[in-house]
């Protein structure tokens, strides 16, 4: 990836160019040199606000720079105009994030602890296994009956009470 040295830490040029183009009239261009200068100014802006927010955070006896520290820093340093627009975006993002976490928590709060879910799963597996075994046994039984029938075929025909069972077994196997 690109430079990760603290001294060379910067912002993506393409993004900054895009922002510049957004505000300028179509026929006005911005040279790369000028764009780079704007970029440097922006990095310096981050340093400034960050440092101020950090001070405010410290005075607040907190260790983590929170949104309110950033907002206060903007105000203190003369960027109060940005605050309303910045908080609008932040509130919108918070709403989106809380909607996402709510929908994922829907599944977590069905009321069953994991242990119970595992037990239920094991029960289901056991049921499935026994159902499979029963059908396997039923198949074996069917084969035996068929063999018997074949053997009986060599003998005089008799009413075979097993014939209805034979068709029933067929249905079961399907």
């Amino acid at each position: 990836m690109g430079d990760k040295n603290d001294d060379n830490l910067s912002l993506p040029k393409a993004t900054v160019s895009k922002l510049i183009k957004e505000i300028l009239p179509q026929e006005v261009k911005c040279s790369n040199e000028t764009r780079d200068l704007i970029l440097e100014c922006c990095v310096e802006f981050i340093h400034l606000i960050s440092s101020e927010a950090n001070d405010i955070c410290g005075k607040d006896n907190k260790r983590t720079i929170a949104p309110e520290h950033v907002i206060k820093a903007l105000k203190e340093l003369g960027f109060g105009d940005y605050i309303q627009k910045v908080t609008e975006v932040y509130d919108k993002h918070k709403l989106e994030v809380s909607t996402k976490t709510k929908s994922s928590k829907k599944f977590e709060n069905l009321g069953k602890p994991t242990e119970q879910l595992i037990k239920e799963q094991q029960l289901l597996f056991a049921k499935a296994r026994s159902a499979y075994q029963q059908s396997a046994e039923a198949q074996q039984l069917q084969q035996q009956q068929q063999l018997q029938l074949q053997q009986q075929g060599l003998q005089p025909p008799q009413t075979n009470p097993q014939l209805p069972n034979h068709s029933e077994n067929n249905n079961n196997n399907q």
Partner: protein
């Protein structure tokens, strides 16, 4: 603007310890507005000079119009100021 990059820039200050996840988001938006304002103010000078390309001297003039931008004095090249 990429939040991870903003966070790294913030952390390049050794006195900065922990940053809430929301902070880089606020910074990203604030930076956007900063770039837009700086560009717009610079363009005023470009337009007055009847040019169609934003130059570094325009940025310097744009900065000089706003008191809040005084912190940029050290970043700007001083020898490029054109009347």
């Amino acid at each position: 603007l990429p939040l991870a990059r903003i966070k790294k820039i913030m952390k390049s200050d050794p006195s900065v310890r922990m940053i809430s996840w929301e902070a880089p988001l606020l910074f990203a938006k604030a930076c956007e507005f900063f770039i837009l304002e700086l560009t717009a103010r610079s363009w005023i000078h470009t337009d007055l000079s009847k040019r169609r390309t934003l130059q570094r001297s325009d940025i310097i003039h744009g900065v000089s119009r706003v008191e809040a931008f005084d912190f940029l004095i050290d970043v700007l090249p001083r020898d490029e100021i054109k009347p």
